[in-house]
């Protein structure tokens, strides 16, 4: 990776840290410790289920919110504040700027998720007193959450490259919600006929398939995740992010920075 991409990525990460984005970890820690103590009153099996479910859902939601709210401003804020002028007047290609921003935000989310994961395992240890072999699947669920972050980051950047922050947030959040129900949308498409079927199928394949990336429920029940799904989800998330990122680059390459 070029020095310029690494520099832009690390500067994006530094911005997030200095803007106190990682303070959300405090809220997360409070939520998880409160939940662990609260469910400590309930039976042993359910409290573990609740901690895994609540912990991983919180990791996902906190990260998605950060990805959307930072991602939508990554390009537009730099244009509004004109900080971009002194970057692009240097030997920095526009695609390098977009890719650097993407890795910076993705890196922020991975670090955030890492600390949250430690919190989840700590809470799990608190309620169950020991780890079991099946708890290893939590790592796969966390990996899928990170894949979701990559998709959301790339989409937020795509919208940020041509739209206002408010509209970008709206688009990205809508896609997240619709994408979370994409399996249901595919099921619905199979039930209907005619143009509705084509439309539902089209939308189901266009929006990111977050349903397939959500294995929190099965992991909480100690069910294993098939290797095939891990491979499929990895390829899908990388391809989807690459396409969205390419779209962002294509739009940004042609944009006049007035």
């Amino acid at each position: 990776m070029s020095t310029r991409i690494v520099s832009i990525a690390s500067n994006t990460f530094r911005e997030a840290v200095r803007d106190r984005v990682l303070y959300n970890l405090i809220a997360f820690a409070l939520l998880l410790s409160g939940a662990a103590i609260f469910v400590g009153q309930i039976s042993i099996d359910i409290e573990k289920l609740v901690v895994i479910n609540l912990g991983l859902t919180a990791v996902s939601l906190f990260g998605i919110v950060i990805a959307i709210f930072i991602g939508i401003g990554l390009v537009s804020k730099e244009i509004d504040k004109r900080t971009l002028y002194t970057v692009l007047s240097r030997p920095v290609r526009r695609w390098e700027f977009i890719v650097g921003k993407f890795f910076g935000l993705a890196g922020t989310l991975v670090v955030n998720a890492f600390f949250m994961a430690i919190g989840v395992f700590a809470a799990l240890l608190y309620v169950a007193h020991q780890f079991q072999k099946s708890d290893g699947w939590i790592l796969v669920a966390l990996y899928f959450i990170v894949l979701q972050f990559l998709i959301i980051c790339s989409l937020a950047l795509l919208f940020s490259s041509f739209s206002s922050p408010l509209l970008s947030a709206l688009f990205a959040f809508s896609l997240f919600v619709i994408g979370s129900f994409s399996e249901d949308l595919r099921g619905f498409a199979a039930l209907v006929k005619g143009p509705t079927r084509w439309l539902a199928t089209g939308i189901a394949y266009l929006v990111p398939n977050f349903s397939a990336l959500n294995v929190i429920g099965s992991v909480a029940h100690a069910q294993p995740v098939p290797g095939k799904l891990i491979a499929y989800n990895t390829a899908y998330a990388l391809l989807y992010s690459a396409v969205a990122l390419s779209g962002a680059v294509l739009i940004f390459q042609r944009r006049n920075l007035k």
Partner: protein, 313 residues
Amino acid sequence: MAAIEIVGLEKIYSVGFWRKRPKLALKPLNLTVEDGEVFGFLGPNGAGKTTTLKMLMGLVFPTGGSARILGMDVNDPGVKARIGFLPEQPYFYDYLTARELLEYYGRLSGVPGKDISGRAEAMLARVGLEDAGAVQLRKFSKGMLQRVGIAQAILHDPQVVFLDEPMSGLDPMGRREVRDLIGQLKQEGKTVFFSTHILSDAEALCDRVAVIHLGELRGVGAVAELTSSVHGKVELVWHGHAVPAAMKTLGAECHVTGDTTRATLPEENQDLAIDALRRDKLRLVSVTPVRATLEQYFVERLKRAETTAGGMA
């Protein structure tokens, strides 16, 4: 080789939400800036100066024409390592310290890693911010930000430096320092292209200037050349308080000062006026061409442009 070559560079924006309509920001512009020149790009606000600079930096794409810097197309990444740019009213990442910002820009400009820290320190010292290197930019005044802006523009030792309104927001001392800095850059053999609407700065610093108004180039040349085209007046000074009768018909404005009289009149009447002084046996002390200021040239050009625009309307 010319440092900057602009050929027919033009920009038309599309404005409006539903019905797009064209808005001309810059009429085809032809301009050449020689290597080592300090070149002033003058014009009132909204004249097209910043649009031109943005096209030269590859931030805005021209509708027509082309521009080359150091013989390379402006969008060639190779040329960008050899130019420096200070935008108008610069705003930087305010969560960074001045030192961090310069180090970041150094990395983006391809300054070797081992040199970055030393180069950042040297630039801070050069713009008088050596004691503020560890301060976050959000705590900087406007004048200090302008200094950081200049430091980042020259950090990587560029051959051509573009400064958009470099004196903007600076106090008289700060303006003086920027003037000195531009002078130093010239001495180092750099080409400096700067836009300004402060004419005294241009007059003091520039080898040549171009005047732009309403997106159109109105004049280009050395300051002395441009200003001499405005007035073409001379000042005659002679002993005594007597004023020959012919002076009035020659369009002279006369003032008595001490034991001498001064008359300012059109250059073409100079010989007739001297003849009149001789006829009246008055002793001529001096004949001095009166140089118009750049401001007079500027105002005259703008008035002419507005008259033309009004006439066409």
